[in-house]
C-alpha cells in the first residue's frame, strides 16, 4: 500500500462519517415531541399535508400542525413536561422541539397562527430561559418560566 491510497481511504472514511453525522442530526430530533392528553370536539393533526384524527394518546411530532374546530380544544404534554393547550378555532405549529433528558438542554419553538393558546413551561425553560419561544403573526414571546395565555385575533380578516 502506498501513502496516497491510505490518505484516499481516510478521505473516504471522513466523507462517509460526515454524511452519517448529517443524517443523524437531521433525523434524531425530527420526531416524537409530545402526546395528546386532552382532546375535545373537533381536533386534527396535519402531518406532511395529510389531516388525521388526534385522540387522547396520539403522538405529536415536530412540524405537525394541530388544528381545532369551533367546538374543539386540545391539550399536549411534551417530553420536557411543558404543557400547551389550544382553544376553539386554533392552529398551532410545532416548529422545533429538541430536548436532552439528561442535561435538560433544549429548544422549543411553536407558532400560533390563530386562536388561543395556554402555555405552562417545562424543564427546557428551567434550564435555559427563553429557549422556548412562541411566535404569532405579530410577535415573538421568549418564555422565562411561567404560565400564560396568547390570543391571536385578526378582526379585519374575519
Amino acid at each position: 500500500m502506498t501513502k496516497v491510497s491510505t490518505f484516499q481511504r481516510d478521505i473516504l472514511v471522513f466523507g462517509v462519517l460526515l454524511l452519517a453525522a448529517a443524517w443523524m442530526c437531521t433525523h434524531a430530533f425530527a420526531g416524537d415531541a409530545g402526546r395528546i392528553k386532552v382532546s375535545k370536539g373537533d381536533v386534527q393533526i396535519e402531518r406532511n399535508g395529510k389531516l388525521m384524527a388526534a385522540p387522547v394518546g396520539a403522538v405529536v411530532e415536530v412540524e405537525d400542525t394541530v388544528k381545532t374546530g369551533s367546538d374543539g380544544s386540545v391539550g399536549i404534554t411534551f417530553h420536557d413536561n411543558s404543557l400547551l393547550s389550544a382553544g376553539p378555532n386554533s392552529e398551532l405549529v410545532i416548529e422545533r422541539f429538541v430536548f436532552d433528558s439528561t442535561t435538560h438542554q433544549g429548544e422549543f419553538d411553536t407558532r400560533l397562527k390563530k386562536g388561543t393558546l395556554a402555555v405552562v413551561s417545562g424543564k427546557i425553560v428551567k434550564q435555559s430561559p427563553e429557549a422556548m419561544r412562541i411566535k404569532t403573526p405579530a410577535a415573538i414571546m421568549g418564555v422565562r418560566g411561567t404560565e400564560f395565555i396568547v390570543k391571536v385575533d385578526e378582526p379585519a380578516a374575519n
Binding site: D10, V13, F14, L17, L18, A20, A21, A22, W23, C25, R35, I36, K37, V38, V56, G57, S73, G75, I76, T77, N81, L83, S85, A86, G87, S90, R96, E107, D109, T116, L117, A118, S121, G122, V125, P129, E130, R133, K135, P137, A138, A139, I140, M141, G142, V143, R144, G145, T146, E147, F148, I149, V150, K151, V152, D153, E154, P155, A156, A157
Partner: protein
Amino acid sequence: MRVALASAIIAAMVAGCALFGSQPNAGSQPVRWTKSQQPIEPEALRPSDRPARNDLIVLLPKPNGKIGGVVVRTEGGKELLLDQAYAGAHIDGPGEMQPVTYDAEQARSEFSSVVAALPGRPATFLLYFLEGKDELTPDSEREFERVFAEIAARPYPEIQVIGHTDAVGNAQFNDQLSRQRAQRVRDDLVQRGIAADRVEVSSRGKREPLVPTAEGVSEPKNRRVEINVR
C-alpha cells in the same frame, strides 16, 4: 495515525452537525423578523373601523413557585416584559403594542375553554424502602395507593420509575438492589392494571442520594423509588 483518524472522525461528526443539523426555522440565531412572517393587508381592503389585530398575551398566576415572566417582542424592536400575574400585552397592529392589566375574573371567563384543556401537571412521588430490601415501608405502602389513584385518574398516563439506594454496601450490590426496587414498583403498577408499555424503569444505585452521606451510612431517605407521572 490512530489519533489522526480519531480526530478526523470527531471533526466529521461536528462538521456534519454544523452543516446539516440546523433547520430553517431553528432558533439558534437571534430571533429576527422577516417580511414574509408578517402578512399585512393593504389598508383599503380593511374596514377602517376595525383594528388590524386584537392580539393579547396575559400572564397567569402560577400555582406554586415564582413567576419568571415572558418577554414579548414585536416588529420594530418593541419589547415588553410581563412578570406579574394578569399583566398583559395588547397588540392592535404591526409593532403596535401596549401594556394592559387584565382582570382576574375577566381572564377566567374569557379563557376558560383553553385553560380547561391544559393537561394535568406532571407530578413526582417518592416511595421509601426497608433497609437492604425491595419492600416498601408501611407509610409508603399507603402512599403507593395514592400514587396509583393519581396515575389511574390521568388520561394516557406515562410513568418513569427510578430506583435508588443508600450508601450501605458496594456499588454492584446497590445497582442490583435499586433495580429490584424499581422493578418491584413497576410490577405492582402493572399488576394493578397500568399498561406495561407506559412504565419506563431505570435505576441509579447509590449514585444520586437525596441526603448526601459518607460511604456505608444507612439513610432511610435515600432508600427510595422516584415515580414521575405525566
